[in-house]
Symmetry: C2
Subunit: 334 residues, 2 copies
């Protein structure tokens, strides 16, 4: 009986939600009319129309979203890197040796130029130093605390409020049409899980990302998951289809990204494999064209470089969102 009640409650919630103003009448109300909005709505209509040759059963309506630059801002630097810098500063007292040791020295001096000259290895060392040596719940608590207290340098708001409102609306729109929405991010799984459910309505078990090695042990008879410093999996570039296959085990029918790190996810989603018949699929790239409300960058950006995927978009039929023209808003109201 209780499960029935729950079903009724949820159904009523779904029945009521689309009736609220600005949604029932106008799907994707935060998107300006244009090619991108039309393409999304047409695709969803096509695959959810029962009896149509393009109909896709709900169980197979898998939609995967990159996070950095697709669901939330990634400038002036990936937020997880800014988090790591803040952690270096917050724990520097316990590590007096950092004052004279790279890459910590540059972080503590706020010298990003010097840091970036030290390459990817330096960045990995900073991630390791700040993301390991504690339990998973301890790390989650640190992330949540940072989300409460840190502010974006330009927008002066918490980082988890630097999310793109039109994309959040799109996530809701897809879920209302029985899509299962997943994050597939180069960012860390444990960095995302504490806040993405509130921000995007995506539960922890639908988050795919990069990860470090975790070890289980009993400490004084209590179960503990310890975050270790070595990297386990990088969910970026060709790692994205691998991560999707590993976690989800189905090919998405929709994929959303913004950089070359999403190229292979878009290919995997929209190009049929050898011997596979064509099927309905949809790829979309968020193009950052809005220097005024957010940032404008693509081929020459160190963060979120969009070059090959932008070249490939027309051939593949991927939709390119022009942020400045296609989105009525960027961030949610404060």
């Amino acid at each position: 009986m209780r499960s029935m009640l729950w079903s009724i409650v949820w159904t009523l919630a779904l029945l009521v939600a689309p009736m609220s103003p600005g949604q029932a009448d106008e799907p994707l109300a935060l998107w300006n009319d244009g090619a991108a909005k039309k393409a999304i709505i047409d695709f969803v209509a096509k695959v959810t129309k029962e009896g149509s040759p393009d109909f896709v059963p709900p169980a197979e309506r898998i939609a995967t979203f990159d996070n950095d630059g697709t669901l939330w801002c990634e400038q002036p630097m990936y937020f997880q890197v800014l988090f790591a810098f803040d952690r270096i500063k917050a724990t520097a007292e316990k590590h007096p040796e950092w004052k004279d040791k790279e890459p910590y020295k540059s972080v503590l001096a706020g010298d990003l130029q010097a840091l970036s000259s030290q390459g990817e290895k330096a960045l990995l060392e900073i991630i390791s130093a700040t993301h390991a040596g504690m339990t998973v719940p301890e790390f989650h608590a640190i992330v949540q605390d940072w989300m409460r207290t840190a502010r974006h340098p330009r927008f002066d708001r918490p980082y988890n409020q630097c999310i793109y409102e039109p994309m959040v609306e799109l996530l809701q729109y897809l879920r209302a049409h029985d899509f299962k929405t997943f994050i597939v991010s180069g960012g860390g799984i444990e960095f995302m899980r504490p806040w993405v459910t509130t921000a995007y309505g995506i539960p922890p078990e639908q988050v795919v990302g990069s990860s470090g090695v975790v070890k289980f042990e009993l400490q004084d008879g209590k179960p503990v998951l310890l975050k270790e410093s070595n990297v386990e999996f990088i969910d970026n570039g060709p790692g994205k289809p691998v991560g999707i296959n590993h976690f989800i085990g189905r090919r998405p029918i929709m994929a959303f990204g913004n950089s070359d790190g999403d190229l292979q996810m878009l290919q995997y989603t929209t190009i049929s494999g050898p011997g596979e018949p064509p099927r309905p699929s949809f790829g979309l790239i968020v193009h950052h064209t809005d220097a005024e409300r957010e940032y404008a960058y693509d081929r020459n950006s160190l963060v979120g470089r969009l070059d090959k995927a932008l070249d490939e978009a027309p051939t593949r039929g991927w939709i390119v969102v022009d942020m400045r023209r296609d989105w009525k808003t960027i961030f949610p109201a404060n």
Copy 2:
């Protein structure tokens, strides 16, 4: 509108299902009355009762199930190993060198004694040789073909019909109470995904298991996921809580196993971590006590050894199912 229709259809399905004979009146009809059945029903009643101090919101109702020996039979040998042996035989013609080379020689001669004397390394080599060098969809097709054609040596039925009917009923019962059911198996993820949805009603994205390395590439412009021969992750013993954290990102509130390979999953589920308040949780062990209808084994079995977890069960409050006494049926009718 269509999403509303879907919600209504699903709700009606849920409303109708519990009304069918033998379910509404009697939950877990395939379980004999006894301590195990009562403990399950009492726990589910407790955590789904709104307003109760033990109430658990639907999103957190995570239940994890071992597969081998918990959801399906694992004797006379793990079925995935029998699959690997069959693959060695089926592809031996292409590998004339196997006739004189261990461990293949013993497999081809059907000499399991000689094989088991070669230890775990031999088994890993056989798994590698039979589970790699093809794309993921190709491997799925091979597994599906084997499920159609191979027969269990004693029960003379397809392996995917050697599943425990009372456990399938339990999975349905939990889902009807808004639990999300996951497989967490030492078996291979890609070996399970092609058939578990039909067998257990568990979708591919709710399967956690061991895995080999997979590589993405474009072949003649088409996206391909290639299974490579090296092992990536062993989801067994202390690997199970790690796999649960990696894939699901929440602690289950119910866990079901049958061997020492499930010990740490049961600990992780039922013992509070350091500083964590106690919460409702449930652990269950399927004890194979039925030599007549299935098999009887525990502490001395090479396959599915149950020793430490059986010792720990009384202290931890884990329910031990006595298969012979607690289950009315074992396998579904042919």
